[in-house]
């Protein structure tokens, strides 16, 4: 018994270097296949996320948090960056797992992945930025049900390699952050005359409280989307002539 075992061990010792080499080569190949990216495609992904398919202004996803947290620029940026972090991580993990997730229960799997990352972000914010976490309230755990994240998981991460999926998460998240910031700037400036908590418009400014109130959120968002549509039609017309 003992002899056989040692024989097997010897064999293993002999083969180990070759096995390790092929293992490394395989891992390298896998890394190359998963994370290899063409710069042109990455640029396209970023252009899509930031402008052409901006999640808030064009795809009209994730409206709840958009409307709720943009009463100040600080909240808007924090919300945007938290969502970006979740989107990046969840897109990466879902893309890595895309061959193992059964089709029928994929949504539930995505939700579990997203919810785990949201919990991490939530706990981190509570620990290091308690004031912000307080003011964002239940909208941090509600990132789980932000349509952008599930939409990108379903439409992009489940069909592309991890590298591209992560880039898409980053681009979409930054696009979301950018549009949240626009709304945050408009609403904070008009609604309280400040920017990032610093008074900008001076003492004499009469704040338009309506803009910070819930109804103002709808109206300002409507106007910003209208401006985006106007800009797009302008660009199309210029492209044609």
């Amino acid at each position: 018994m003992k002899k056989e075992k040692s024989k097997g061990w010897l064999e293993f010792r002999q083969n180990a270097p070759a096995m390790m080499k092929s293992g490394v080569r395989r891992a390298g190949g896998w890394l190359g296949r998963s994370f290899g990216m063409e710069p042109g495609k990455v640029a396209q992904i970023f252009k899509n996320g930031l402008v052409l398919q901006n999640p808030t202004l064009v795809l009209l996803l994730g409206m709840c948090s958009t409307l709720a947290v943009t009463t100040s620029l600080k909240n808007a940026v924090c919300m945007g960056l938290s969502t970006t972090a979740v989107l990046l991580c969840s897109n990466l993990v879902i893309s890595l797992l895309r061959h193992w997730i059964p089709k029928q229960i994929r949504i539930a799997c995505y939700v579990v992945v997203v919810a785990s990352f949201v919990t991490i972000v939530d706990l981190l914010l509570q620990a290091y930025l308690p004031a912000l976490s307080e003011s964002l309230g239940i909208f941090i755990p509600l990132i789980v049900v932000n349509c952008i994240i599930l939409a990108r998981a379903e439409a992009f991460a489940s069909k592309h390699t991890p590298g591209y999926a992560a880039m898409d998460g980053l681009a979409m998240g930054l696009g979301f952050t950018a549009s949240l910031s626009i709304l945050g700037v408009v609403r904070e400036l008009l609604g309280s005359g400040t920017l990032w908590g610093v008074s900008v418009l001076g003492e004499g400014f009469q704040p338009m409280l309506l803009v910070v109130a819930p109804c103002g959120g709808f109206i300002v968002l409507g106007c910003v989307i209208a401006a985006a549509q106007w800009a797009r039609s302008l660009a199309e017309r210029r492209g044609k002539t």
Binding site: L60, L61, G62, M63, C64, S65, L67, A68, I107, A108, V111, V112, A115, S116, V118, T119, D122, L123, I138, P141, L142, V144, V145, N146, C147, L150, L210, A213, P214, C215, G216, G217, F218, I219, L221, G222, C223, I225, A226, A227, Q229, W230, S233
Partner: protein
């Protein structure tokens, strides 16, 4: 729970703190499924049903599973799983029992899972330390508030079809501005905050 307390809760959940127009929960279906009044009513009732059941189940999960085991940090994950399972059950039930409503709701039925209002009411129940009866009542009442908002909005949107807004405002922007005006009307109820 006394009747006055229930009345106060109803006032605050349906009017003064309407989930859609004041708390900004459940905006996606509010904007997405409000083009026709029939589907809006169906969606509202389906969401109310899921919100009521969801409040009860999440309360049970939180009180008997998460709190005794000290796993409160798993709240978000476990709640969303409970809600996803519930929506699946409701979907199967509707397909058997009410195929007409099922096909009318179409893609929006599975989307109830990602309706912030459902998860939101579960999290709010936990935050406010509601007991079982209050949680269930708050879930159903908030769902009724959602139904009220979406039905009102859909009736306005049906008329909007015939109007001619400026080109840039066509489609979503004009709908958002309309929702803003609706929300302004609901602001008037904020004086009703009794409880």
């Amino acid at each position: 729970m006394s009747v006055t307390q229930l009345f106060a809760l109803a006032l605050s959940a349906i009017l003064a703190e309407n989930f859609v127009l004041v708390k900004f929960l459940g905006i996606c279906p509010f904007l997405g499924v409000s083009k026709k009044t029939d589907t809006a009513v169906g969606m509202g009732l389906a969401v109310t049903f899921v919100m009521g059941l969801g409040s009860m189940f999440t309360w049970v999960v939180n009180t008997f599973l998460l709190v005794p085991l000290g796993l409160q940090y798993m709240q978000t994950v476990s709640y969303i799983l409970v809600i996803a399972a519930l929506v699946q059950v409701v979907e199967m039930f509707l397909r058997r029992a009410l195929p007409a409503l099922y096909s009318a709701l179409g893609i929006y039925l599975p989307l109830i899972t990602t309706n912030c209002a459902v998860l939101g009411v579960a999290l709010l129940n936990t935050q406010k330390h509601f007991n079982f009866v209050l949680s269930a009542a708050y879930g159903v009442l908030a769902g009724l508030g959602f139904t009220l908002a979406i039905v009102l909005f859909s009736t306005i949107r049906e008329r909007l079809e015939f109007s001619k807004p400026p080109k840039a405002f066509e489609g979503f922007p004009i709908a958002l501005v309309t929702a803003g005006l609706l929300a302004m009307a609901f602001m008037g109820f904020s004086g009703l905050k009794v409880w």
